[in-house]
Symmetry: C2
Subunit: 150 residues, 2 copies
């Protein structure tokens, strides 16, 4: 099962052990801070910066430190459970799941949109053919204005 699906499957349930299970499956020690961080990501669903993620996690485990969240994201990232996206100025964003496609950041509402795989792949192919450059857009966002804000 892909991690996105795994996450999606767990997201509906209210079982407190979801995150814990997920951690163990991926050979991570199931500590309270990690569980809280992962649960925050599961609950929220979208992309989050570390500061917001920390606040969310702290609603379950108040003494979690931001540094711990950074380290947690680091290990979750190593295990392929989350991905980070560079977003220009601001802090980078974190989301559940392994490598995904190309992300676009709305300059107005700051929301994250995933660009359609087909479109992105055609683009990558064209860039490859045109100048031999192999785009690997996994961790870099683009900027623009989303449908809602236009």
């Amino acid at each position: 099962m892909r991690l996105q699906d795994e996450a999606a499957a767990l997201k509906g349930q209210n079982n407190v052990d979801d995150a814990e299970t997920m951690l163990r499956t991926h050979n991570c020690k199931a500590t309270a801070p990690r569980i809280a961080v992962l649960r925050a990501l599961l609950r929220h669903g979208g992309a989050l910066d570390i500061a917001s993620l920390t606040k969310l996690a702290q609603s379950e485990v108040p003494e979690i430190h931001e540094a711990t969240v950074y380290r947690t994201i680091g290990t979750l990232s190593d295990r392929g459970m989350v991905t980070h996206v560079h977003a220009g100025h601001g802090p980078s964003l974190v989301r559940l799941g392994g490598d995904h496609g190309l992300i676009a950041l709305c300059r107005t509402c700051n929301r994250v949109t995933e660009l359609p795989t087909a479109t992105v792949e055609r683009f990558i192919l064209e860039a490859q053919e045109a100048i031999g450059f192999t785009l690997e857009p996994g961790h870099f966002a683009l900027e623009g204005v989303c449908a809602n804000c236009a």
Copy 2:
């Protein structure tokens, strides 16, 4: 005349006043630090981070401070003479000229490549049609592996 051309035209000559002229044309006070920064950009041609740019400029005006270079880039940017590009982790890059197309950063050699306008425009159009998102990629780079490093 477009700024890129303007820059290109000046770049060949060795006239010390090139940068000075360019500054005056754009209603900037022609101070020594500004001239040095602009000349460094003209000489180098490509995209530069502030630290490198400062070092280059200091070869002409040794006492220039990095903070000054940041401020100079700010004003040049306001006047449309330079553009900055966010490049993931590292510092952002600065290059001559107004808004350009989409830039790709080689993960291996760290060099900057401009993606072909036609390709990028088709991509933007497709994203627009597919999900209504209007991409404005001016200031965000993508990542990948360039033809040389592949």
